[in-house]
Amino acid sequence: MLRRTLLATAALGLGLMVTGGAALAQGMDKVKACFVYVGPIGDGGWTFQHHQGALAVQETYGDKVEVQWQESVPEGADAERVLTQMALGGCNIIFTTSFGYMDATNAVAAKFPDVKFEHATGYKRDHPNVSTYNARFYEGRAVVGTIAGRMTKTNKIGYIASFPIPEVIMGINSYYLHAKKVNPAVELSVVWVFTWFDPAKEADAAKALIDQGVDVITAHTDSTAPLSELAKTPGLVGFGQASDMEAYKPSPRVTSIIDNWAPYYVKRVGQLLDGTYEQTDSWEGIASGEVLIGEITEAVPAEVKAEAEAVRDAIAAGTYHPFTGPINKQDGTPWLAEGQTAPDGDLLGMNFYVEGITGDIPQ
């Protein structure tokens, strides 16, 4: 729908409906924070973690905040409607937690300039009231890759990948680089499942990898299915993804990469409350707590645990960047020189494997 036509009508409604509160610079007494989820809260993964963040907001600010959410919102026209309804219903800040909401977020933001929109994992900020935020998951992959390289006995590690987008390719590259660093003989197998969340497919993918001799698997998909599959054979290693997945401790889940959105959400709502809110593009990682490494269990030998923790701490301190040269692209062309770290732009548009990974990225 053309924004122009809807804007005209919405402006009328706006005058009557929006209860957005005082202007930006003055801070607010009460904030209504709304969340749009792409999946069900009970998925135990991506959406579950976002919801934990939402709950943290409620807990931190108590009466000063009202939290509302809508789960399993399909991307596209439905998203636009849900966002419009939320804005009309008085939400002051709306978090849209999936890349696919990008156009809808920007379209609705145009119609409601007094409402703040925060879009996860996106890159479009067409209007001043749209901010974007993301987390440096590849930092988590670095830690996990180190453990993988050390703990594999067959020298075959696996990655269950969702879609061939930069975020996933970043993860694959980081995982492989760090496994290779501690274990030069390691080989990586990637299975593309073309879904973010499909337990049966993920279990099948894990099984296929295991059948091929892989004994350490990490997944970019959100369910606990790969861990369930790994659990059937003792001695295999896996990692919690997006959430801690404690049910699979101490093995096969030896550690996990936890999406921790709470600090960011609490910060942004707080800024709205005390009037310091500004449009930002945020890409934080381990250092500010957005990516957490879950408890490393006793199944991991002490030296390996120490090594992994060292990687994590170095990243947290800012002294180590997971993509530090010399690194070549898969076809041999140089990418990063000795000591050079990858600029964010390269990472955000990453569409190549690093040297040493066999196989192609699906086109």
Partner: protein
């Protein structure tokens, strides 16, 4: 790496496991269709079985109870279908689809709060040293007991349908319900029984997915398995043993394409993921080409509701 890196023994063992849910659902639907009823609600019944089985297993701690619970859940949902089509004479296609929609929604509702929970595990049947045999070990002796049960059920259905009086009556009802009625058989009641059996089997298949194959509960966990089961019934020309072959074929292709990816095959991933469906279409065409519906072995009264005129 090439095709040769895939171990065929492991592949066959994997596909036998992958095939169990669709085999159970398909054999149940075969009985239903033999009696002349087309129940498109297999997906809904499977997922009801998945959640009911999961809840019962988690609450009771026993996977066996879980499987029974799953069968009961599937049968309960199919009872609604039976009521609507046999006694209220509703259109079978529409009712089946409504069943799927309702089943998906209801199961999701029931499953709230059960996400991410680990169910009690079903172990492999302890065959001892037999399971370590080189080729026969993993393929024949390395499975959990549901795999064997599913094959036994197929055998039982084959025997009952082909060799017993009950089976004859069921087939008669499916070929011509008017004639069967004239002979004094209670058509609707027989169909009700078959529908409940079909529901129980679909429920069992669904419970296998949530208790063994994945194993966990999540919304929509069956992901279209019910539709595949329907295809297998046609593929099998309504013959029980062919259901087994069809299920293994479909399961095999699905498992194979993932294994090919894991082995680093150069075949583009997208074509691999399309392959199970394309192969199913191809086989359907081959099975039905050149022969009329009679040759296809479809029950003549399939899809038509029966209403006693007096």
């Amino acid at each position: 790496m090439d095709f040769g890196a895939i171990n065929p023994v492991i592949l066959v063992a994997s596909l036998m496991v992958a095939a169990v849910p669709i085999m159970l659902a398909a054999i149940g639907e075969l009985v239903v269709e033999k009696a002349g009823v087309l129940n498109l609600g297999v997906e809904g019944m499977m997922i009801m079985g998945a959640i009911c089985g999961f809840i019962v297993a988690v609450k009771s701690g026993s996977p066996l109870a879980g499987f029974l619970g799953g069968a009961a859940g599937g049968a309960a949902l199919s009872a609604v279908f039976a009521l609507l089509t046999q006694f209220l004479l509703a259109n079978q296609v529409a009712t089946g689809l409504a069943l799927t929609l309702f089943g998906l929604g209801l199961s999701s509702l029931m499953g709230q709060g059960y996400n991410g929970i680990k169910p009690p595990l079903t172990g492999a049947v302890p065959f001892g040293p037999l399971a370590d045999l080189p080729v026969l070990g993993p393929i024949v002796f390395g499975h959990d007991w549901m795999v064997y049960a599913s094959v036994l059920i197929v055998a039982a259905v084959w025997w009952v349908l082909g060799r017993t009086r009950t089976g004859l009556i069921i087939r008669a009802v499916g070929e011509s319900h008017d004639a069967a009625h004239a002979l004094g058989y209670k058509v609707n009641r027989i169909r009700l029984g078959c529908i409940l059996f079909g529901g129980a089997m679909a429920g069992l298949g669904g419970a296998y997915i949530s208790l063994v194959r994945v194993p966990q509960w999540v919304d929509g966990i069956t992901a279209g398995a019910g539709w595949i089961a329907l295809a297998i019934v046609v593929f099998a020309s309504w013959k029980p043993w062919r259901v087994l072959i069809g299920a293994y074929l479909f399961g095999g292709i699905t498992v194979l394409q993932l294994n090919l990816q894991a082995a680093g095959s150069r075949i583009p991933v997208e074509y691999l993921s399309m392959s199970p469906y394309l192969v199913t279409i191809l086989v359907l065409v081959i099975m039905s080409s050149g022969r009329g519906r009679a040759g296809l072995n479809a029950p003549a009264a399939l899809g038509q509701n029966f209403h006693a005129a007096r």
